[in-house]
């Protein structure tokens, strides 16, 4: 599961660009700091590969393996 | 106590090791090369580290790193090299790191000359680097005094968390005298464990050492340092007062100049002239009270004798004399030593001219 800390996110969009399953997109809401931040649009397709977290400059994304 | 006949540079190097110094970094420059040469052999014997830096700039920054670990660290140089170390000394002051810097001074300005001179008084006491900080400046006149001041220099540096400067001219660095060497101090983190990078006693929390602070923090640090410098004036002034009781003329001189002046004073005393001397041992804090408290009903003149032209200590003297008597100066410069005859004649001329 992908968790995005919107207070750390600065909206660069790297996670959206590099997600191989295209499950992220930039949201329409702004964080308290004024940045747009990514939202998860297809949780089910996530393979928890963690490339989004790997590319996040701020360490704002955490990824946990799905239960099962 | 062990007695040894030693050269000035080697004596302070040995005193540093006995005072707990376990790190040295420096770059060759005359007339202080015997300090790194001695320590390159001596420090490994006691488990310390010696690094010959690629420059004075690198060396002072190595000392900055070593001091951050709570290790007693030393660097030495001479005028031109101290200028290059100015950056690092300022960072030591800003990051509040204790370290000892030795300046075996030579003729200046510029590359100047490699012969002895006292040309770095203003640099030592007013502007060791940018940003407006002060360091305690010790100016020994004998090798025994150099040994004792070096041995204790880290106690001051660690107490006040900042650099301490030992200012000696190339003459004191090169002469040989008998010195009593003190016992080897035990290595301890007692003064540094609260902030240093060594993980003393299984420390859990992290330590940050920073030369940059937010505005209010920086102002607070500078305020605190200002109070520290005031405290030095009350508790840490070291001065020798010689034959001042009845003195009509008072010589002010430090280091090698004071030794030559003392000879002249003794000769002139035999001839009936009432001359005394104030010898600052700490150039900063300057012994203000010694000058301020002179009986100016008796004192007819102050004679500032320095191995530099123009005299550099004169401003500090005049600030205390406050116009109560004339201030004269005599010196040699460019690496030319003061000699007995010259100093004697200069004092005689001043005394006669005034009489």
């Amino acid at each position: 599961m992908v968790t995005i800390n919107e207070l750390m996110c600065k909206g660069c969009g790297y996670c959206v660009k590099f997600c191989p399953k295209h499950i992220l997109e930039m949201g329409k809401e702004r964080s308290q700091k004024g940045h747009f931040y990514p939202v998860n649009i297809n949780e089910d397709a996530c393979t928890t590969c963690a490339i989004c977290a790997l590319m996040c400059p701020e360490g704002a994304i955490e990824v946990t393996a799905k239960e099962k | 106590m062990e007695k040894r006949f030693m050269k000035g540079c080697e004596a302070i190097a040995e005193a540093a090791v006995r005072g707990g110094c376990r790190f040295f970094a420096g770059y060759p420059i005359t007339p202080q090369n015997e300090i790194p040469e001695y320590l390159s052999k001596r420090l490994p014997e006691v488990g310390g580290a010696f690094v010959q830096g690629e420059s004075e700039v690198a060396s002072i920054n190595m000392v900055y790193g070593a001091a951050a670990t709570g290790t007693r660290a030393l660097t030495s140089s001479s005028g031109p090299g101290i200028s290059l170390k100015a950056e690092g000394i300022s960072y030591l002051a800003s990051s509040q790191l204790p370290a000892v810097i030795v300046n075996i001074s030579r003729g200046g300005p510029g590359l100047g000359s490699i012969q002895p001179a006292q040309s770095d008084y203003l640099q030592a006491t007013k502007a060791l680097g940018h940003g407006g900080f002060r360091a305690m400046v010790f100016a020994p006149a004998t090798l025994q005094e150099a040994v004792d001041l070096t041995y204790d220099a880290w106690e001051y540096a660690e107490r006040d968390k900042g650099p301490v400067l030992i200012l000696m001219d190339g003459c004191l660095g090169a002469i040989m005298e008998e010195v009593e060497l003190p016992e080897m101090k035990e290595i301890s983190y007692a003064n540094t464990e609260d902030w240093c990078l060594a993980r003393v006693n299984g420390r859990e929390e992290s330590h940050m050492i920073t030369p940059i602070l937010p505005e209010l923090g920086l102002e607070m640090l500078n305020r605190f340092k200002g109070m520290t410098y005031k405290m030095w004036e009350m508790t840490d002034v070291k001065v020798e007062e010689y034959m001042l009781e009845d003195a009509e003329y008072v010589v002010v001189a430090y280091g090698i100049a004071a030794r030559v002046a003392k000879e002249a004073i003794n000769t002139l005393r035999e001839q009936g002239h009432k001359i005394g001397m104030i010898r600052p041992i700490t150039l900063y804090p300057f012994p203000k009270a010694s000058l301020d408290n002179l009986d100016y009903d008796k004192v007819k003149g102050i004679i500032d004798i320095e191995m530099t032209i123009p005299a550099q200590m004169r401003d500090d003297i005049e600030l205390q004399v406050k116009g109560r008597c004339p201030v004269h100066e005599y010196g040699r410069s460019g690496g030319i030593l003061l000699d007995d005859e010259g100093v004697l004649e200069a004092i005689e001329n001043i005394v006669k001219g005034e009489a």
Binding site: C12, K17, L54, E58 | A25, Y64, A66, S206
Partner: protein
């Protein structure tokens, strides 16, 4: 299944870096590796001047701020006194390849047993985008408004190439942080460098090709492509020296 947790070597707050700055990513990678090697209490981060100074406010472990360009000298002093600690410098290209050239080359040549992390974004970010020693030919900066002209400013310095010709360094490598492969390789490289240091092998040097969206005047995503077409062809990623592998 892979997973990712924010490293504890970083404080739990956003960095001071601009959005999309790969300097921040480089810092995070170092923190990732410090966590993976369980060195949070053993690492000492020697932080330099420039944007990298922002690390002072992100690093949760022991750290120390060095004067501009002097981090390798400061690290030398620290490591000689505390040989068991994991010591690394984190320096930008102005700091390391201009004002600090003497310090980096000399520390590398002495084979000091610490690691240098070198973030190369081809500009002076903190001071507003002046020409760096690594600024590419033709690249505009606030002090080369018509583009860098080699006739008057020479050519961009290739630090990995320079350092790899020295005898002492044991591992010298460059990675580009503009793709997942580059970032994953960089992380492995940093880990290898730290492991070599902890084994007492000697000087290790990791160059990270990064960006500067603010001073390049591009969106973060555009800088990634710009790196592919401009930075990477000149600063070619790869391992430039691996003494252990040569044996």
């Amino acid at each position: 299944m892979p997973s990712y947790k924010r490293p504890s070597a970083l404080l739990p707050m956003a960095t001071g870096y601009c959005p999309g700055c790969l300097h921040a990513l480089g810092t995070r990678l170092v923190a990732d590796v410090v966590d993976e090697l369980n060195q949070q209490k053993n690492a000492i981060n020697v932080i330099s001047v420039g944007c990298s100074a922002l690390n002072l406010y992100s690093w949760s472990g022991d750290d120390i701020g060095a004067a501009h360009g002097r981090a390798p000298a400061v690290a030398t002093g620290i490591k000689r006194c505390l040989p068991d600690r994991l010591v690394f410098t984190y320096q930008g290209d102005g700091d390391l390849a201009a004002i600090g050239l003497a310090e980096i080359m000399s520390a590398a040549n002495r084979g000091e047993n610490f690691t240098v992390i070198f973030a190369n974004n081809q500009t002076y970010g903190m001071t507003g985008g002046q020409m760096a020693p690594t600024t590419l030919i033709g690249q505009k900066s606030t002090t080369t408004p018509c583009g860098r002209d080699p006739q008057t400013t020479g050519y961009p310095l290739k630090m990995c190439e320079l350092i790899s010709v020295l005898e002492a360094p044991v591992f010298v490598a460059r990675y580009a942080l503009n793709s997942p492969k580059g970032v994953a390789d960089a992380k492995k490289g940093i880990k290898k460098a730290f492991e070599l240091q902890l084994a007492g092998k000697g000087f290790t040097f990791i160059e990270l090709l990064t960006n500067c969206p603010t001073n390049w005047g591009m969106s973060p995503l555009d800088t990634l492509e710009h790196m592919n077409t401009n930075s990477i062809p000149y600063f070619v990623p790869g391992v430039y020296k691996d003494k252990e592998a040569e044996k």
